[in-house]
Amino acid sequence: MTTLTAQDLDKTYTLRSGLRFSQLRAVNGVSFELRPGRTVALVGQSGSGKSTIAKLLMQLERPTSGSLLLDGKPIGRRGKALADYRHQVQMVFQDPFASLNPYHSIGHHLVRPLIVHGRATSRTAPGAAKELLDRVNLPADDAFMARRPHELSGGQRQRVAIARALAPGPTVLVADEPVSMLDVSVRLGVLNLLARLQREEELAMLYITHDLATARHFSDEILVMYRGEVVERGDADEVILNPQQEFTRKLLAAAPEPGTNQRFLAEARRRGVPMPDHLAPQEDLA
């Protein structure tokens, strides 16, 4: 079991327009700890630095200052140490339409990380890939493995992306807005899948989102970000029910009120207004 600690992460981008340079401080002194079996939610509006933190954690960018510790030890940045880190820490991207290579089959996306991380040989990899597909509730057969990303729905693609992230056998999972690009009707299914996998594997998870309701439901701790800084943090229920900061209150007020929404829907149903399937009464989702 692994704990990933971020200490005082800073990321400053230098922007150039012609001969003038300016500095953009995307992330400013952010610290948190991802522990096994716990989910930390990172919420905030667009441009608040959430995705930059994901990039820093995945070592796609280097922090300007601050450090990342894996089980108390500074993380490796190149060579074998970097490979080990990738073995431990994986990520699910926001956009399942962009995160799968249109040229390659679903099988390729799962088989490669299995082989790269030595979890399977090229002979055993297809079988292991099918097990992964099965774990994310996708049909585990050769026909599905041979399909290409464009033949799949958004929900199916995101499940493939989750299966790919699980392939190296990570202990830390970063989910960067995993459902924001998906159809409303399949969001809950994907979130529940992530929650189940986290329980089964005791994953340490960072759930990046701008949806406060799911953040409260699926995480233990919430960090509220505003302009690159963490302005409020604490127990999930505590932050939502008893927000201390002005910005958190604004964020909460901006979310649509489920109550009024339900009333509106009930009224619409009473009048017999036709509505899409996912808004029709659904007992099985409750």
């Binding site: 073995h87 995160s99 290579n101 040229y103 390659h104 439901h217 989702l285």
Partner: protein, 314 residues
């Protein structure tokens, strides 16, 4: 909340869906068939033709004869068989074209993809070099080099043509690579632990294939045209016959003023036909390689047809 929706691939139920699945066993596009047909005929002529015809350089007494049973495409001013010359010239022109296209492909892929992916100072240097080569005027440069060198062999002409023709497609490849390297699936491959050379060759390169193959075909066309231009002004390959050299000799022999159309029309026609065939192939390449465009029009047609049938049945 423990419900998880399971996504299964439902078997196709509607007629339209069945038609789409059936369309996976697709027929090639007509443009491709015609293009490949034209190119194949010319290539076969260039490969097999020289084995069947008489000596193209043998001089006879019957000069400037129109097509007849003895000489299917007539004779030149010095009584050489035009058909025999055409067969050897086709072989020569195709050889130059393929050689140049392969060289240009390697050069453009090296400078374009490597620079675009690695970025930094390497990219700056490669871009500068590409831009400098890009603004070198091709034909004048070829003329200068061609007139300086005494022994203008096939390889030399091919290298000169390749050096002056790779830059444009290198720029296209660079900009494509720049856009692809920042896509999520490349980042995902990085996170999955793939090595840089594998990311370039397995994740990025396949997505560049449509651009590269159309660049290849374009280089082939322009190399054959460039060689014809060089040969026509008498600076082409020495010792190898090409379509351009045939036109050069036809011009020297005053084929036009003497009305000897059989001497200059066949090579001119073959140049035009090959360009046309290669362009047709070029158009259909994207539809073949891009998985998203695969048999899309055919699918749409099948769906429409199936729906019509359904309507008629109802």
């Amino acid at each position: 909340m423990t419900t998880e929706t399971t996504e299964t691939a439902a078997p196709p139920t509607t007629t339209a869906a069945i038609a789409t699945t059936r369309a996976r066993r697709r027929r090639p596009a007509p443009t491709l068939v015609v293009g490949v047909g034209i190119v194949l005929v010319i290539v076969l002529f260039g490969l097999i033709g020289p084995l069947l015809v008489q000596d193209p350089l043998a001089i006879g007494n019957d000069g400037m004869q129109p097509p007849s049973a003895a000489h299917l495409l007539g004779t030149t001013q010095t009584g050489q068989d035009v058909l025999a010359q055409l067969a050897y010239a086709t072989r020569g022109s195709l050889l130059v074209g393929v050689l140049v296209a392969v060289l240009a492909l390697f050069l453009s892929a090296f400078f374009g993809i490597l620079g675009g992916y690695l970025g930094g100072w390497l990219d700056e240097g490669f871009s500068l070099f590409t831009n400098v080569v890009l603004i070198l005027p091709g034909l004048p440069l070829m003329i200068v080099i061609g007139s300086y060198v005494e022994q203008r062999g096939l390889l030399l002409i091919a290298v000169v043509l390749a050096i002056t023709s790779w830059a444009a497609s290198a720029r296209v490849l660079r900009s494509q690579t720049l856009s692809i390297r920042n896509r999520d699936y490349v980042q995902a491959a990085k996170i999955a632990g793939e090595k840089p050379w594998r990311i370039i060759s397995v994740e990025i390169l396949p997505n560049l294939l449509p651009v590269m193959s159309s660049g290849f075909v374009f280089a082939l066309i322009s190399a054959i045209l460039g060689e014809a231009g060089l040969s026509f002004i008498g600076l082409g390959v020495v010792g190898t016959q090409t379509w351009g050299s045939m036109l050069f000799y036809a011009q020297n022999g005053q084929a036009l003023t003497l009305g000897g159309w059989w001497w200059f029309v066949p090579p001119g026609f073959l140049i035009a036909a090959l360009g046309c065939g290669l362009s047709l192939i070029n158009f259909s390449i994207d539809a073949i390689i891009n998985p998203r465009l695969r048999s899309a029009p055919a699918n749409a047609r099948r769906v429409r047809r199936a729906e019509k049938k359904e309507e008629a049945a109802a």
